[in-house]
Amino acid sequence: MDINPARISVENLNFYYGNKQALKNINLNIFEKKVTAIIGPSGCGKSTFIRLLNRMNDLVPGGRVEGSILLDGSDINAPEADVVDIRRRVGMVFQKPNPFAKSISQNISYGLELEGSRKKDFIERKIEESLKKAALWEEVKDRLDESALGLSGGQQQRLCIARCLAVEPEVILFDEPCASLDPISTKKIEELILELKKDYTIIIVTHNMQQAARVSDYTAFMYLGELVEFGHTEKVFTVPKEKRTEEYLSGKFG
């Protein structure tokens, strides 16, 4: 049934903010070159979960992880794991577009320069390539040196996606990427995600059920820090196994 191998395996994952347990015994596989949607009511731990996948929660004071997250079989929280390497392989696009207060091209070259790339033509090629992949090139190719903050919200978000693509991740985490965008920009981002699926493994948190249904192959439903249901999207949406999933999808709570 699952032809693609699991890229990420999450096993018995718990996470605590200080004494407060935010994730309870999560077990799930993220499959290669598929889109996995994470849905659930506000505060159920969706962001907490995906931020663990690229160790962004390292930055949270008092945060504590139990269990394992295997990326291609090796635990990303192991002492010998290289957090920089993990964050490069698992890129992230945030809820609110957050381009740097730099030019459009500098936003993309930033990640490349971090890894020590200095070659001008290489960087220029990467800028063009990633902007094209993020379906933004045509709109910005004549203003690459202008500030990224002058772009519209939807363009900014695509720039953030381009910035993420430039460092060649294998997995991309989207945390409600369309939450602050209008319907047209949202549609563009959705089309982009379907396009990116060919090359990348994608995880997307969304509050929009239609969006989850449109873009994802797998859906995980979380509730109060637990993973209630996980499966093929059409199954979860049409014949959910759990009563809570059904109630959430039919708008009974959340």
């Binding site: 690229n54 964050r87 490069r88 945030f94 957050n98 930033y110 990640g111 903050l149 910035r163």
Partner: protein
């Protein structure tokens, strides 16, 4: 009834808000009225660029260039002290210090600002001056360098707390974006946080400078007071403020000397005005740049 009350409150607060404007206008009026008459005796060019300040000689000379230069030298030296220390401590407090260290350090630095300037003056006279005198083997420790060091220390809280605010304005999302691209703490600090806080940090520096230029008591006590063209930090100097403070008592009211001192006040006022306007312009640009004004 409540309508009337509201009206009265409105009126009262409007009056209070505008009273400071009134004071500003009043002070400026006095400065101009008492300062401008000096130009009947000395041309503005000779006043500003004249190299000799001998207000009490039988043939007095009113050239304030040595005083202006002394102020600039002392300020430049003080900036060289306060900027690295102030910004360094802001970066430390903001980025590296744990919660506990922060809770101790921030109030401690701000306490520096609560020390009366005369105490800094004593500190300069008793500690810094003798020390520098010994180190550089100079005839007196009361010199430009001593003033710079003491003023620099005095300006640390201004620079540090404003720079800390500027760092705090940098959206957390910038940092997260940087970390998510695989940057470490230092790369994030140098390439994202500091540039984004850049204009805020410049504002901190400028306001620190404006504090230094206007400081009087300390300068009077430690700068040595010689109104000669400065050529070395190790030489006694007489900046603008201390000139006014030292000579106001002896200048005959209504005389040229008296008017000249007010004109010095005017020059000082203009210098600090320029600093403050520059700081305001920069910080406004910076808020727009970060999209905080939307």
């Amino acid at each position: 009834m409540s309508r009337l009350k509201e009206k009265i409150y409105r009126w009262l607060f409007t009056a209070l808000a505008f009273s400071s404007l009134l004071f500003l206008v009043g002070i400026m009026a006095v400065l101009f009225k008492e300062g401008l008459p000096v130009f009947k005796e000395v041309s503005p060019a000779n006043f500003i660029f004249g190299k000799s300040w001998y207000p009490t000689y039988s043939v007095p000379e009113f050239g304030i260039l040595p005083l202006i230069l002394a102020s600039l030298w002392v300020t430049a030296g003080a900036v060289a002290v306060s900027v690295p220390l102030g910004i360094g401590s802001a970066l430390y407090i903001h980025e590296l210090a744990g919660k506990k260290q922060k809770a101790v350090l921030k109030p401690l630095i701000e306490m520096l600002a609560a020390i009366p300037s005369i105490v800094f003056g004593f500190f300069g006279m008793v500690v810094v001056a003798p020390f520098l005198q010994k180190v550089f083997a100079i005839p007196t420790g009361l010199c430009g360098l001593t003033a710079s060091v003491v003023l620099g220390i005095m300006a640390i809280p201004t620079v540090s707390s404003l720079a800390d605010d500027a760092l705090g304005f940098v959206p957390r999302s910038f940092k997260e974006a940087s970390y998510a691209l695989g940057a470490n703490r230092w790369q994030t600090l140098y390439k994202v946080v500091i540039p984004a806080a850049g204009s805020g940090i410049s504002t901190a520096i400028i306001l620190g400078m404006s504090r230094i230029v206007g400081e009087t008591m300390t300068v009077l006590m430690v700068s040595g007071g010689a109104a000669v063209m400065p050529s070395s930090f190790l030489q006694p100097m007489r900046p603008l403020t201390s000139t006014i403070a030292a000579e106001m008592g002896e200048a005959a009211m209504g005389g040229t000397h008296y008017h000249a001192l007010f004109a010095i006040g005017l020059v000082l006022f203009l210098i600090t005005l320029v600093f403050n306007v520059a700081a305001e312009v920069i910080s406004r640009r910076y808020r727009i740049k970060l999209g905080l004004n939307r």
